[in-house]
Amino acid sequence: MKFVVVILAGVMTLSGCASFRTTAPGDPIEPINRGIYSFNTTFDHYLFRPIAKGYDFVVPGPIKTGVTNVFQNVSDVQSLVSDALQLKGAKFGDDLGRVMLNTTFGIGGIFDLATPMGIERGNEDIGQTLGYWGIGSGPYLVVPFLGPSSLRDAIGRYGDSQVNPLSYVSSVPVRNSLTGLSVVDARVGLFPAEDLLNQASLDKYTFLRSAYLQRRQSLVLDGKRPKEE
């Protein structure tokens, strides 16, 4: 958390004098974001991506699916909290049903029994909850190591971490290993999108920013899209 505060403080000081160059609306600190983006890309290229590739290659498919399911179950618990904070009864019911079913009969979430039964993931988080109650996304942020975010969503991410069941694991080495595994699992999930990004984009930074902001807006509105123009 200290780390995030330092970044935010830095961002806020710098954004004051970052107007030397025209930037896209919604991205007032584009030069700084681009710097962090290129740092993340290098880090990913030399360390993170090879680890995820190795994991993807070595670990058998069913185990990988089980790992993904366990972490999705964890995020369903987080979603449950945000469903409640947005007073979304139907989503709350779905997420509660999912967590109960998958945690018990799905053995701690290893098997996702709820999805084939048609119980959809609520897919909510604190960032969306803030958006739901009328808080705009604020300036676009690229967070070191984590990638695209916004001021609102970065704060939301901190809130989510507070309701993450993994943070209640008391053994520090176990907790850290689980966090590491969840990050690698998430990175493996990005491989298909990575090919598309390389093929489709002229400027990956802008492509990602636009996709991120649109996707978050859509999630806040639960898929209802305001007609533009």
Partner: protein, 205 residues
Amino acid sequence: MKFMKRLKWFTGLFAAVMLSAFTVVSAHAEIAPDALIKTVATDVTTVLKADPAILSNAAKLKELIENKLIPNFSFARMTQLAMGRNWSKASPDQQAALTKEFQTLLVRTYSGALANFRNNTIDVRPLRMQPADADVTVKTVINQPNGQGIPIDYSLEKGADGNWKAYDIVVAGVSLVTNYRDEFNTVIRDQGVDALVKQLQAKNK
């Protein structure tokens, strides 16, 4: 005189038949937008399922895309929308080059993505539209084998010939046109329209 009367009657009948036949034909040509999306999606997945090898056969894949997909998209409108306010800054030559290169880029990107759609089914939500509507959004959901659905919306406009063509695809809330508009804007802002044409050409090489 009798003959002339009969001839008149015949011509009248002939004209009436032709007119009604023409009406029927043009009614057929105006296939509804939701039916169009359903037909195209079903046609493409049927071909892919029947002959999965097509995905690794560049020539066959190109043929499928050129026959089934390209006629149903308005690349001119897509390019214009993606350019936004920069469109009027481009010369007619630049506009033509941009449209051509953008089409190539999109076709390449999405022919690569087709491989992922082989085992998916598509649900097209019925569209409620007025007869006078000339711009609609058809909502669909792609059902993946893992049980999760991806919402994909198609924006279509009605051409002067009465045929509907798609000009935007919105995947899980991310509009293709908006995404490219932001990218094009950045390139044009920093380097100008010619640089954008050159970048697209380089990308398509």
